[in-house]
Amino acid sequence: MKNLKRILCLALCLMLTLACVPAMAAGSTKIGVLVADATGAEALAFRAYYEKYIANAYDVEFIYSEELNTADGEKNAIDNFIVNNCKAIISFSSVDRPAQIEQCDAAGIYYAVATGTLTDEEYEEFKDYEYYVGAIGPSLNTEFQVGYDMAAYYIDQGMTKFGIFGGAVPYRTDMHIYRAASMLSAMIDKGGEGAAYQGVTDPGAVIGMIYGSGSIETGKIGNLELAAYVGGYDFDDAWFGKLAQMAGTEGIEAILTVGSGVDVLGSFVAGSSVKLATVDSFTSAMGEAMNSGIIDYVAGKFATSIGPIFVATLNAVNGQPIRNEEGYALALDQGYWVAANAEQFAQYYAVDSSEENPAYSKDILDAYAPAGVSYEDFAAFVAQYSFDEIVALKK
Amino acid sequence: MEQEARKALDVIHADHIQPGIPTALLDLQERKLVEVAKVMVKKPEILVVDENTTALSQKGRELLYQLMDSLKKEGKAVIFISHDLDEIKQVCDTLTVLRDGRIITHFSKENYDDDAIKTSMIGREMQGDYYRADKEPTWQEKVLLQADHLTGSGLQDVSLKIRAGEILGVGGLSECGMHTLGKALFGGAMLTGGTVKTEGKAYSDPRQATRLGVGYVSKERDTESLCQQASIRDNIAIGGLRHIQKKKLILKRRETAYVQKQVDALSIKCRHMEQPVSAMSGGNKQKVVFGKWLGAGSRVLILDCPTRGVDIGVKQSMYQLITKMKNEGKAILIISEEMAELIGMCDRLLVMKDGALQKEFLRGQMNEADIIRCMI
């Protein structure tokens, strides 16, 4: 018994010592990364890009948080980054961005938003904060467009009966509400004479109704029909039952999802004729889903789309933050790639999936990484996010 | 599986136990018999029986003795560990006495001598009387406990009184209801009728009973009288917190003094009072239980099988203690399956059968044969 305790103690000390060794060798610039999702395909792809490519290319060390879903979790994670002497934080977590910005500003470390944006009010409040780098990600307009284009794609093919998976709509998440509202707006616009959702046609009013109720009503929208709706992420038997019921709705032709389409509905539509469309990411898992026919349409971020925000952050850390002509922080829109079939997906994915030569490679980023890049040049660079533009950049 | 279990139970002639019943629903005796059957499935060459018979009624003991006898006839060996001299003398061919982890001496059946055995067990000659020295019943006038028409949980309209300075015994066969009676007198049994009072004040649950000065030593010492993980200090102090409190606060010094007093008075053998009671011998555990109620100043004590699983030396000291408590004017109820104990200690003895009181015997007029006749 005594010996066992001694052995356990020694093993623990050895583990801690070994763990220290690589740490002692580190001397790179440390950047903290706040994540809301640590295990999804998109999150893993982002992380692989930063840790396996960017870290080596730019001599930076990324320190990742645990999966965050509360404001105090975000605050704790930022505290941990400060303890670790991180020079900057790139945030994928959005529970309380204002608090994150304030905390970083107070600690004198730079803060950047990846794959997202601040609201207009938030931007007005923080745009001149010294340590706020800015945001590069889909604006709410872009989110609206992605849902609209998705619904329009299927309506233009002659489909009339749809289902919508609303995701975080019940939790009043802006991104999902805008995507869902835009799907309804597409149906209103293309539903023919008198098409309306619950009597309204204005997109703003549709958004407002969804915010108010936290849900979407099924029914006719002109000559189109929203036959089924499921929202939330309950992950209980009743919720799965509703998803199964939606997939099995008689006559349903396509299910439009604001996100997580493969995870929540893949098994229910597999082998059926129901088309499943989703907003997700360009990862190998999504490619498999498209090849197997589970997913028919994906609008997604590509894994290296977070390259520009890293560059902006690095510039700030090096003492040359990129500010617009008024001296304010970045607020740049970055949209999605859209693939409507497996071949198109494969073509897009091939451009971005290489760990040796990703879409936003060091060669491309270096044009904007040194000090002195202008806001206009940088904004123009970020705006070239479509597949064709990326291919052109790489040539 | 049930067939095999049935066979195993038949080997020990426990026909009344059904193999399909969960053991949690069996009483302690039946569970003991199931344990024995389990062991016998392995057809042992040497069977070790360690203090099992204290939990068994006469019938259960007979079953075990039969089994031991049949093993002996098959040329196998039995090591029988017990405190009960009568039992040892009845079933054992040889006796080895241990004390403090050492072998003291051996006896063969023809050399069995009670005094010699007792002396070698406790390491000294037993001084004084084993039971009470006096032969006449004595008690004071004041009634300290009165139970009227207790009915329910197997009790059939039981009424009794215990006076100050009296030792009242209750005896009977194992299932006669006497253990339930003990609980009921402490407010711990579900009754459909009847009242229990102490000094004119009625109570119906253990909390009220303890506040009114009634103490209860359960037959199931380890599961009902003691908290095994707790220390000697905690087990003794818990009964008398209101005596230890000063201005509602429990101060460690007062608690230590309170517990130390009981430890000294009862000669509880321990290294220190923080010792968990689980590490103690049966006799010392029982002393801790006594200490809990004596420290609380209980004027009425209900003792259910108080010397079960306790060696002879400690038994004697307990009888002396009970006699001392009687002399101090406490009312004591002893519930026991040991005839000698009841006859040796009680002023009055009530015999129970099928939940009802059958007959009362006075000290000096207690005849074992008459008593047994009432029990059956």
């Binding site: 018994m1 305790k5 356990l8 103690c9 623990l12 583990m15 801690l16 220290c20 740490a23 640590a38 060390e61 990742y64 509360t70 404001a71 105090d72 605050k75 704790n76 505290d79 941990n80 400060i82 303890v83 002497n85 529970v95 309380d96 608090a99 304030e102 975080a168 939790y171 009043r172 108010g212 936290g214 | 982890g101 402490f186 711990g188 253990p206 909390r207 209860y216 359960s218 599961t223 009902e224 003691l226 908290c227 095994q228 993980q229 707790a230 905690d234 818990i238 917190l241 509602k248 429990i250 053998k269 290294r271 220190h272 009072m273 923080e274 010792q275 689980s278 590490a279 010392n284 809990k292």
Partner: protein, 319 residues
Amino acid sequence: MGKQTWKERVPAFASVLGLLVLIAAYYIVGAVRDANVAYGLKAIVNQSVVVALVATGAVFIYTLGSFDISLGAATGVSALLGAMAYNATGSLAVMFLVCVGVAVALGFINSSLASIFNLPIFVTTVAMMSVLSAFMLILIGWNGAGDTIKVKGRDMRPLDNIPFKVVILVLYIALCWFVFTLLPTGREAKFIGGNPVCARLSGINEKKLGIIASLISAVGIGLGAFLTIIYAPTLTKDTASSIGMDVIIAIVFGGMPVSGGPRSRILSAVVGAFSMGFMTQIMSMLNLGSGYGQMIKAAIFLLVVFIALGSQRGKLLTR
């Protein structure tokens, strides 16, 4: 009569020794990694204080041999209602009273249900957890401001400081220690946890103790909710969701058996909560991936508990 040997005392102090070792390891690793250890201490207090508060109160419930699985949900509801009260009145005092009052009310409901229906407290808390989690969603929906309820961070800033939080923690621990150690409540609760049958037959009122334990625990929940709002003024449906599990880990890490009983100690909770805090900070400084960090935490946890629970059986008593 003799006294306990140092070997017999070690299990009682193993968790404190473990905390001291973790503190030493924190400074060593911090020095090697050139980390901001002073800031880290602040972070540890901020990250541990709510768990320490809730866990200290929960010790009373766990001591009874019971279990409260609704601690996180109760903290969340108390915090949401406290935040809504602040938004309605602008008063921190009102926010405090609502946080504690709601928590106490929930504790009273839990214990009353257990008492009336003669159920173990654990069973009623399972039901309460579901009800409260749903109620949090309803509250957020009522608020009509997206998926959060917020109070102005600037208004909370005067109280978002270490001395204030430490004072609240120390005062609450002192109260709990007083009740647990100097009043009969603690002894009776330990006895119930150790052997409820014996406790009943020793005259202890189990139902009354259950209610007292729930109310004391509820005060800790209310204080935890108050500090949660101050620390992170944006509240979501997941606010405080991990507290239930964190409390169990803290209590066990602090050397108290989760089954309660006589070996329960009021300080186990705060020792365990801060041990977890230091350990998390050490893992963070070492930048261990989530998997490695969790494995090492688990190994240290097992080691501390292994030593703390120790062996209860001493040498056989001589006659």
